[in-house]
């Protein structure tokens, strides 16, 4: 008995603080959150009356919430697409032995070091919706002013002040900030492919395109998957960037579930806020869990 304790006791003792803290502050709170989401506590007054999944069905039927889910979908597609394209391009350019690689790598990676809140304040100004041909257009600032002064005035637009596509403008700063990170992932992927494979392909008469199509890309798949998971789950949880760019939390144009949860919480609608939190958790889990299963299987092999 004592011998067995000696075997696993120290290990457990070492892990116990983590297990307890994670257990309480993550898993117990998730359960508590789920419990609140089943009650009818829509005001500050404490209420423990259970209403089953009514809050969820009401939310999913609410056009405002549907709009926020739609926004989330657009945001995720643009954010993912943008970071993958730019990340890949930059990695591809830097992969060729070029002068100043270290310098450019740092330049591309650097935006990631800035917090979303800090960059969001700058982007609020850059993405100002005023256009030069509108009344008061002489006050135009940011990107619209820049476009106008380089003769591309016709490209000026509302940015995020548009109920349908406004959310895509929020993806612009997000892409700017995280493309460098995706680049670093791809660059590591490129470097992990032995030079011998490329040489062998060339000797076999592969064109440069075929070399990439059949030799390089397949080996980048795991990197690509990691990038999709990491960027995808960041996009689903994106909150601080939107809050920093858009002054008012209640702005309909760029409402996503995370910001809507905040608005509900401030309005003391704890049940709805908790339900939105659970929906977000499920959405993120759908992205992350298959990835965790995939990697754990890959490790076993």
């Amino acid at each position: 008995m004592l011998k067995r304790v000696k075997h696993w006791g120290p290990g457990l003792l070492l892990l116990a603080p983590t297990i307890i803290l994670v257990g309480v502050f993550v898993y117990w709170l998730i359960i508590e959150n789920f419990r609140v989401s089943l009650t009818n506590q829509h005001t500050a007054k404490p209420s423990d009356k259970y209403v089953g999944f009514d809050n969820y069905t009401n939310l999913l039927a609410d056009p405002n919430f549907q709009h926020s889910l739609w926004n989330l979908l657009i945001l995720t597609i643009v954010f993912l697409g943008g970071t993958l394209i730019f990340g890949f391009l930059w990695a591809w350019i830097l992969d060729k032995p070029a002068k100043g690689e270290g310098f450019f790598r740092a330049v591309y990676l650097f935006p990631m070091a800035v917090s979303f809140i800090a960059s969001g304040v700058v982007w609020r100004w850059l993405l100002s919706s005023l256009q030069t041909d509108q009344p008061g257009g002489e006050r135009t600032t940011g990107l619209n002013r820049l476009l106008d002064s380089v003769g591309l005035g016709f490209l000026q637009n509302d940015w995020w002040s548009n109920p349908t596509w406004g959310i895509a403008a929020i993806a612009v700063p997000a892409i700017w900030q995280l493309s460098g990170y995706v680049m670093a992932l791809f660059l590591a992927g490129f470097r992990g492919i032995p030079e011998e494979l490329r040489e062998a392909a060339r000797i076999d008469g592969c064109s440069e395109w075929k070399l990439y199509r059949h030799v390089i890309f397949p080996q980048l798949n795991p990197v690509m998957l990691s990038a999709v998971i990491i960027i995808g789950h960041m996009s689903l949880k994106l909150f601080d960037l939107i809050r920093a760019i858009v002054p008012d939390a209640n702005t309909y144009d760029v409402q996503v579930p995370a910001t809507m949860m905040w608005v509900k919480y401030i309005g003391s609608d704890y049940a709805d806020a908790a339900a939105i939190g659970m929906i977000l958790l499920v959405l993120v889990a759908i992205v992350v869990i298959p990835y965790l299963m995939y990697t754990s299987r890959a490790e076993k092999r």
């Binding site: 005001t43 007054k45 005023l130 009344p135 008061g136 109920p163 002054p247 309909y252 144009d253």
Partner: protein
């Protein structure tokens, strides 16, 4: 051995859980202790962290220190987001059962949530002890009273239906700054004149300032009874007159700056009027403090008048202070509330903040010209409660309506706004 490990883990978990949700139980503080014998520190929670608000709070604290030298003032101000940041911090503290000694809240419906949650002490006895009922206007007392009880002491009164205008821009557009438009249609004609002169007619900022514009267009269009009826169910949201009001709002909104959602708060919108880029700005009378602070002169640089169509109506909001259930130093909190309610406290605070005193016995001889006119108006005008500032409806209702108004700013769909506002009103009327 194994069992004791489990026990240890369980105990630790339980301990953490208890600290997390403990304290909400019965915290029977001795609320009977008189304010005059209070000692220790008084923690007061506000969102007055900078500008004229901070200056006003400082002036108030000076009076408090003279009144109660034995007490120390503990400033628990939380900055940001016109109070929304502070409210989330406060909500967490109240939920955890560790409230401050006194906290700021808009008087009226915003207090309802706290009252429903049994988080506020009844202050009716306090009003009687200090003879406050006779010193505050009856209209105000009516709006503070919930089921025969009063839960807060108002510190100041603001007016939301004031239009601020740039005199030069009006003159350039051929509008007489001395004679404001008499009703909504005349004002819309003036807005058109400004538009033709090439300036932005009306400056507005993000969501809450749009709600403020919306409420005042409703007030101008529906009149006092129609407007009040929207909140107590007497006015039908689906009615034709409401459709007409929302269409007027749509027209007025079409004269505003297109970058309204990008402006960080009300001040940049008011700044547009100061800079001569825009003619009008509808803003609560805290804008007066900004004009004064920036050295602008009333009459020559800027002028002000009640929102056209709402002359003779005072769209009111007030800040007030409370005594939360379970306050650590209730006697000290009562001392603080006594200073707030007193004539001296109100004079010191309101002179700096630019608002008007709720206490009618407060001395206002050296107040600004605008403040004097507002005090005069408040004594004779009809009073209605502001929507955008939590006086007319509870926060959750306001939030849903704000979302609808924000959505309207994008799609301009009158039927959708009317329908969702009506559905929200029905939901909360229950």
């Amino acid at each position: 051995m194994r069992r004791s490990f489990k026990l240890l883990a369980a105990a630790a978990t339980l301990g953490l859980a208890l600290t997390g949700c403990g304290g909400s139980g019965d915290n029977s503080a001795d609320t009977a202790a008189p304010a005059s014998e209070a000692t220790g520190s008084v923690g007061v929670f506000t969102w007055w962290a900078d500008g004229s608000e901070k200056a006003g709070l400082d002036a108030l604290v000076d009076v408090f220190k003279t009144d109660y030298p034995d007490l120390t003032f503990d400033n628990l101000a939380v900055a940001g987001g016109a109070g929304s940041q502070a409210k989330s911090v406060l909500a967490a503290q109240l939920k955890a059962g560790t409230p401050p000694d006194s906290f700021q809240a808009h008087a009226g419906a915003e207090l309802q949530d706290y009252i429903d949650a049994d988080q506020l002490e009844d202050l009716t006895g306090f009003y009687e002890e200090n003879d406050l009922t006779s010193q505050f206007p009856a209209d105000l007392i009516d709006r503070l009273t919930v089921d025969g009880k009063i839960y807060s002491v108002p510190s100041n009164i603001h007016r939301s239906n004031v239009v601020w205008a740039n005199v030069d821009v009006l003159k350039d557009a051929g509008i007489d700054p001395e004679k404001p438009a008499e009703d909504l249609d005349a004002w819309i004609a003036d807005l058109e004149k400004v538009k033709k002169s090439g300036k932005t007619p009306l400056a507005v900022a993000g969501s809450w300032t749009q709600v403020q514009l919306f409420e005042n267009v409703l007030l101008a269009s529906l009149g006092v009874d129609g407007y009040n009826g929207l909140w107590d169910g007497a006015t039908d949201w689906k009615g034709e007159d409401v459709t007409k009001a929302i269409e007027s709002y749509k027209t007025v909104l079409s004269y505003t700056n297109s970058d309204r959602d990008s402006l960080s708060d009300w001040a940049p919108a008011t700044q547009l009027v100061q800079d001569g880029a825009a003619a009008y700005n509808l803003m609560g009378d805290w804008a007066e403090a900004k004009f004064t602070l920036d050295g602008d002169k009333a009459g020559t640089d800027y002028t002000y008048f009640p929102m056209p169509g709402t002359a003779g109506v005072f769209n009111f909001l007030a800040d007030s202070f409370t005594l939360p259930v379970g306050a650590p130093n209730p006697a000290g909190a009562k001392a603080w509330l006594t200073t707030i309610g007193s004539a001296e406290g109100q004079t010191a605070f309101n002179k700096v903040k630019g608002s008007i005193p709720a206490n009618t016995t407060a001395k206002t001889d050296d107040f600004s010209e605008y403040q004097k006119s507002a005090i005069d108006d408040f004594s004779k005008d009809q009073i209605v409660s502001s929507l955008a500032h939590g006086a007319a409806v509870p926060v959750a209702w306001l939030n849903e309506l704000s979302t609808a108004v924000s959505k309207f700013g994008g799609d301009g769909n009158v039927a959708t706004l009317q329908e969702s506002a009506g559905a929200t009103a029905e939901k909360f009327a229950e």
